[in-house]
């Protein structure tokens, strides 16, 4: 079983009313795409934000990650809107 920490930032943190959570992933949730699908299946704002209508980014252990990237054991995963610094 892979227990990971998920962080949410900016608009997503507010939409989910959650800054971070620890979750234990089902065996079939092994990469970013599967994780997003699993979270979107929670329904409501989760589906609105992660179901495909809105753009977001994912980082694994503080590096930007692609949707096919595997999720290492105990990873710190962050999900956030496209960045707007500078």
């Amino acid at each position: 079983m892979n227990t990971i920490k998920i962080l949410y930032f900016a608009r997503l943190r507010e939409a989910f009313a959650c800054a971070e959570e620890n979750v234990t992933l089902p065996a079939e949730v092994h990469n970013v795409a599967a994780l997003i699908g699993w979270l979107a299946a929670r329904g409501g704002v989760w589906t609105d934000e992660l179901g495909g209508k809105r753009v977001f980014r994912v980082a694994i252990n503080q590096d930007m990650a692609r949707f096919d990237a595997p999720i290492p054991p105990g990873a710190e995963v962050a999900i956030f809107p496209p960045v707007t610094g500078g």
């Binding site: 753009v55 980082a59 930007m64 956030f80 809107p81 960045v83 707007t84 610094g85 500078g86």
Partner: protein
């Protein structure tokens, strides 16, 4: 290469950061970029949120990528977070090299990557309430020009 990377709430001084590089006889050119809060009325504010840990890592990675590409003697990147008022400074990038071309290009490269890859998010506080700033397609395009070369 000397790299200074800082994420901070307090303001920064371009003169002080420039002075840190003074006296270096190997540096022939220093380019400075300062990004500022624009288009806000008095009483309005821009709030910057970031991802502590990843922010510093991303900025250091961008400075490192610039150094791989151009011969740089020093890079300074300072980015502020928290609430900023009209005309306040947001970000400072200094690039130092032997000649100006490398310093100019590396400075633009660092800003283009910072704007698309460093985890900062802006929110505007105006009389109409608080609103997250949307990412701009033109920033992504500006970054891509470095990948084509």
């Amino acid at each position: 290469m000397q790299a200074v990377i800082r994420v901070q709430q307090r303001d920064f001084s371009l003169a002080e950061e420039y002075d840190c590089l003074a006296g270096r006889t190997d540096i022939g050119a220093i380019v400075a970029f300062v990004g500022r809060v624009r288009d806000l009325a008095p009483g309005e504010a821009l709030e910057l949120e970031h991802y502590p840990g990843m922010t510093e890592k991303a900025l250091a990675g961008i400075a490192e990528a610039a150094q791989q590409r151009w011969p740089l003697q020093a890079v300074t990147v300072i980015h502020r977070v928290g609430k900023l008022g009209p005309a306040e400074q947001i970000v400072l990038v200094l690039t130092a090299s032997t000649h100006r071309a490398a310093a100019y290009e590396a400075n633009a490269f660092i800003m283009d990557y910072l704007k698309t890859e460093a985890p900062f998010w802006k929110r505007e506080h105006t009389a109409q309430g608080a609103q997250w700033v949307d990412a701009r397609e033109s920033d992504e395009t500006a970054k891509l020009r470095w990948e084509k070369q």
